[in-house]
Protein backbone atom coordinates (compact mmCIF):
# COMPACT_ATOMS: atom_id res chain seq x y z
CA UNK A 1 0.00 0.00 0.00
CA UNK A 2 1.49 3.35 -0.95
CA UNK A 3 1.28 6.62 0.89
CA UNK A 4 -1.35 8.27 -1.41
CA UNK A 5 -3.72 5.39 -0.77
CA UNK A 6 -3.12 5.64 2.96
CA UNK A 7 -3.73 9.33 2.89
CA UNK A 8 -7.21 8.77 1.58
CA UNK A 9 -8.25 6.39 4.32
CA UNK A 10 -5.97 7.79 7.03
CA UNK A 11 -5.72 4.32 8.55
CA UNK A 12 -3.45 1.33 8.10
CA UNK A 13 -4.74 -2.16 8.62
CA UNK A 14 -3.02 -5.17 10.08
CA UNK A 15 -0.31 -6.61 7.88
CA UNK A 16 0.34 -3.46 5.97
CA UNK A 17 3.55 -1.53 5.88
CA UNK A 18 4.14 2.15 5.57
CA UNK A 19 7.48 3.59 4.55
CA UNK A 20 8.70 7.14 4.43
CA UNK A 21 12.21 8.36 3.79
CA UNK A 22 13.45 7.54 7.26
CA UNK A 23 10.78 5.54 9.02
CA UNK A 24 9.22 2.18 8.52
CA UNK A 25 6.05 1.36 10.42
CA UNK A 26 5.12 -2.29 10.47
CA UNK A 27 1.70 -3.34 11.55
CA UNK A 28 2.45 -6.72 13.02
CA UNK A 29 0.12 -9.64 12.60
CA UNK A 30 -0.17 -9.94 16.37
CA UNK A 31 -1.57 -6.46 16.70
CA UNK A 32 -5.03 -6.25 15.21
CA UNK A 33 -5.57 -2.64 16.21
CA UNK A 34 -6.05 -0.07 13.55
CA UNK A 35 -3.33 2.52 13.34
CA UNK A 36 -4.31 6.14 12.98
CA UNK A 37 -1.90 7.45 10.40
CA UNK A 38 -2.36 11.05 11.45
CA UNK A 39 -1.52 10.12 15.03
CA UNK A 40 1.49 8.14 13.87
CA UNK A 41 2.73 11.10 11.90
CA UNK A 42 2.19 13.39 14.83
CA UNK A 43 4.13 11.04 17.08
CA UNK A 44 6.88 10.91 14.51
CA UNK A 45 6.99 14.69 14.34
CA UNK A 46 7.23 14.91 18.14
CA UNK A 47 10.00 12.31 18.18
CA UNK A 48 11.90 14.16 15.45
CA UNK A 49 11.57 17.42 17.35
CA UNK A 50 12.84 15.77 20.53
CA UNK A 51 15.82 14.29 18.71
CA UNK A 52 16.61 17.64 17.10
CA UNK A 53 16.37 19.38 20.50
CA UNK A 54 18.65 16.79 22.09
CA UNK A 55 21.20 17.19 19.30
CA UNK A 56 21.09 20.97 19.64
CA UNK A 57 21.49 20.74 23.41
CA UNK A 58 24.51 18.45 23.01
CA UNK A 59 26.05 20.80 20.46
CA UNK A 60 25.45 23.81 22.69
CA UNK A 61 26.97 22.00 25.66
CA UNK A 62 30.11 21.29 23.66
CA UNK A 63 30.40 24.87 22.45
CA UNK A 64 30.29 26.08 26.07
CA UNK A 65 33.26 23.90 27.00
CA UNK A 66 35.92 26.16 25.44
CA UNK A 67 34.54 29.10 27.45
CA UNK A 68 34.69 27.09 30.65
CA UNK A 69 38.18 25.82 29.84
CA UNK A 70 39.33 29.37 29.19
CA UNK A 71 37.80 30.55 32.47
CA UNK A 72 39.57 27.79 34.39
CA UNK A 73 42.89 28.63 32.74
CA UNK A 74 42.44 32.33 33.42
CA UNK A 75 41.71 31.68 37.10
CA UNK A 76 44.82 29.54 37.45
CA UNK A 77 46.91 32.23 35.83
CA UNK A 78 45.48 34.78 38.24
CA UNK A 79 46.29 32.56 41.24
CA UNK A 80 49.83 32.09 39.93
CA UNK A 81 50.30 35.77 39.38
CA UNK A 82 49.02 36.60 42.83
CA UNK A 83 51.29 33.97 44.39
CA UNK A 84 54.33 35.44 42.62
CA UNK A 85 53.37 39.00 43.48
CA UNK A 86 52.68 38.24 47.12
CA UNK A 87 56.00 36.41 47.48
CA UNK A 88 58.01 39.18 45.83
Amino acid sequence: MTEPELSRSNTIYEGTRFESNETVIDIHAGNPDLIDLAAAREARAVADAEIAAAREAAANAETRDPDQAHTIGARLLYYRGEAIRSAA
Binding site: E62, T63, D65, P66, Q68, A69, H70, I72, G73, A74, R75, L76, L77, Y78, Y79, R80, E82, A83, I84, A87, A88
Partner: protein, 139 residues
Protein backbone atom coordinates in the same frame (compact mmCIF):
# COMPACT_ATOMS: atom_id res chain seq x y z
CA UNK B 1 61.42 16.71 32.05
CA UNK B 2 59.56 19.57 30.43
CA UNK B 3 62.01 20.02 27.59
CA UNK B 4 60.09 17.90 25.14
CA UNK B 5 56.79 19.50 26.02
CA UNK B 6 58.21 22.97 25.80
CA UNK B 7 59.93 22.22 22.52
CA UNK B 8 56.59 21.20 21.09
CA UNK B 9 54.96 24.33 22.43
CA UNK B 10 57.56 26.95 21.73
CA UNK B 11 59.36 25.41 18.79
CA UNK B 12 62.70 25.90 20.49
CA UNK B 13 64.77 23.58 22.61
CA UNK B 14 66.21 26.40 24.67
CA UNK B 15 64.94 25.67 28.15
CA UNK B 16 67.74 27.38 29.99
CA UNK B 17 65.41 30.04 31.30
CA UNK B 18 63.20 27.39 32.80
CA UNK B 19 65.78 25.41 34.71
CA UNK B 20 65.29 25.13 38.43
CA UNK B 21 67.35 27.68 40.33
CA UNK B 22 70.12 26.09 42.40
CA UNK B 23 69.15 28.05 45.43
CA UNK B 24 65.85 29.68 46.03
CA UNK B 25 64.37 31.73 48.76
CA UNK B 26 62.02 29.75 50.96
CA UNK B 27 58.84 31.48 49.86
CA UNK B 28 59.86 33.02 46.58
CA UNK B 29 58.45 30.74 43.97
CA UNK B 30 58.81 31.33 40.27
CA UNK B 31 56.10 30.64 37.74
CA UNK B 32 58.07 27.62 36.64
CA UNK B 33 58.12 26.21 40.15
CA UNK B 34 54.44 26.86 40.63
CA UNK B 35 53.69 24.99 37.40
CA UNK B 36 55.76 22.09 38.66
CA UNK B 37 53.77 22.03 41.89
CA UNK B 38 50.55 22.10 39.91
CA UNK B 39 51.80 19.37 37.61
CA UNK B 40 52.47 17.04 40.52
CA UNK B 41 48.76 17.19 41.23
CA UNK B 42 47.79 17.13 37.57
CA UNK B 43 49.76 13.98 36.85
CA UNK B 44 47.80 12.06 39.46
CA UNK B 45 44.35 13.06 38.31
CA UNK B 46 44.05 10.20 35.87
CA UNK B 47 44.64 7.39 38.31
CA UNK B 48 47.75 5.62 39.38
CA UNK B 49 50.77 6.24 37.19
CA UNK B 50 52.13 2.89 35.93
CA UNK B 51 55.42 1.81 37.42
CA UNK B 52 58.32 3.25 35.49
CA UNK B 53 56.18 6.02 34.02
CA UNK B 54 56.41 9.69 34.69
CA UNK B 55 53.36 11.76 33.96
CA UNK B 56 52.87 15.50 33.89
CA UNK B 57 49.65 17.33 33.23
CA UNK B 58 49.59 21.06 33.67
CA UNK B 59 48.05 24.34 32.60
CA UNK B 60 50.73 26.28 30.75
CA UNK B 61 48.61 29.39 30.24
CA UNK B 62 44.94 30.25 30.00
CA UNK B 63 44.67 28.63 26.58
CA UNK B 64 47.17 25.79 26.73
CA UNK B 65 47.27 22.50 28.60
CA UNK B 66 50.06 19.95 28.32
CA UNK B 67 50.16 16.21 28.92
CA UNK B 68 53.64 14.71 29.06
CA UNK B 69 54.37 11.06 29.71
CA UNK B 70 57.74 9.35 29.86
CA UNK B 71 58.53 5.66 30.28
CA UNK B 72 61.10 2.98 29.57
CA UNK B 73 60.02 0.49 26.93
CA UNK B 74 60.72 -3.26 26.88
CA UNK B 75 64.05 -2.75 25.17
CA UNK B 76 65.13 -0.35 27.89
CA UNK B 77 64.82 2.68 25.67
CA UNK B 78 63.32 5.84 27.07
CA UNK B 79 60.10 6.86 25.35
CA UNK B 80 57.97 9.93 25.75
CA UNK B 81 54.79 11.45 24.47
CA UNK B 82 53.58 15.01 24.58
CA UNK B 83 50.07 16.18 23.86
CA UNK B 84 49.14 19.84 23.79
CA UNK B 85 45.55 21.01 24.15
CA UNK B 86 44.76 24.44 22.74
CA UNK B 87 41.61 26.15 23.95
CA UNK B 88 40.24 27.94 20.93
CA UNK B 89 37.17 30.12 20.60
CA UNK B 90 34.79 27.34 19.66
CA UNK B 91 36.81 24.15 20.07
CA UNK B 92 39.64 22.53 21.93
CA UNK B 93 42.39 21.40 19.60
CA UNK B 94 44.50 18.37 20.45
CA UNK B 95 48.01 18.56 19.03
CA UNK B 96 50.19 15.48 19.04
CA UNK B 97 53.67 14.91 17.80
CA UNK B 98 53.97 14.19 14.13
CA UNK B 99 51.71 17.09 13.21
CA UNK B 100 48.57 15.23 14.24
CA UNK B 101 45.68 17.52 15.02
CA UNK B 102 42.12 16.82 16.09
CA UNK B 103 39.33 18.62 17.89
CA UNK B 104 38.14 17.11 21.13
CA UNK B 105 34.61 15.79 21.04
CA UNK B 106 32.35 13.30 22.76
CA UNK B 107 33.80 11.38 25.69
CA UNK B 108 37.30 12.74 25.15
CA UNK B 109 36.01 16.28 25.50
CA UNK B 110 34.00 15.35 28.60
CA UNK B 111 37.02 13.69 30.15
CA UNK B 112 39.23 16.68 29.38
CA UNK B 113 36.74 19.09 30.93
CA UNK B 114 36.40 16.87 34.01
CA UNK B 115 40.19 16.68 34.32
CA UNK B 116 40.81 20.42 34.13
CA UNK B 117 37.95 21.11 36.51
CA UNK B 118 39.42 18.66 39.04
CA UNK B 119 42.87 20.15 38.40
CA UNK B 120 41.59 23.65 39.12
CA UNK B 121 39.78 22.60 42.29
CA UNK B 122 42.73 20.70 43.74
CA UNK B 123 45.38 23.20 42.68
CA UNK B 124 43.35 26.10 44.06
CA UNK B 125 43.13 24.36 47.43
CA UNK B 126 46.50 22.67 47.69
CA UNK B 127 48.88 25.06 45.91
CA UNK B 128 47.23 28.45 46.26
CA UNK B 129 45.16 27.81 49.39
CA UNK B 130 42.05 29.23 47.82
CA UNK B 131 38.43 28.18 47.81
CA UNK B 132 37.94 26.80 44.28
CA UNK B 133 34.37 28.05 44.14
CA UNK B 134 34.88 31.61 45.30
CA UNK B 135 38.59 32.04 44.53
CA UNK B 136 39.00 33.60 47.96
CA UNK B 137 42.08 32.77 50.00
CA UNK B 138 41.62 30.54 53.00
CA UNK B 139 42.14 32.44 56.19
Amino acid sequence: MFKKALTLITGTDDTSALRMPKARAAKKLTERELIQMESEIGGKLFGEVPKGHRREFFCLDDKTWVWYEEWIDQSGKRQNMTVRYEVQEKNILKVQEGARYSFLEGDELKNFMAAITAYHDRVAREVYHRDPHTGQKFV
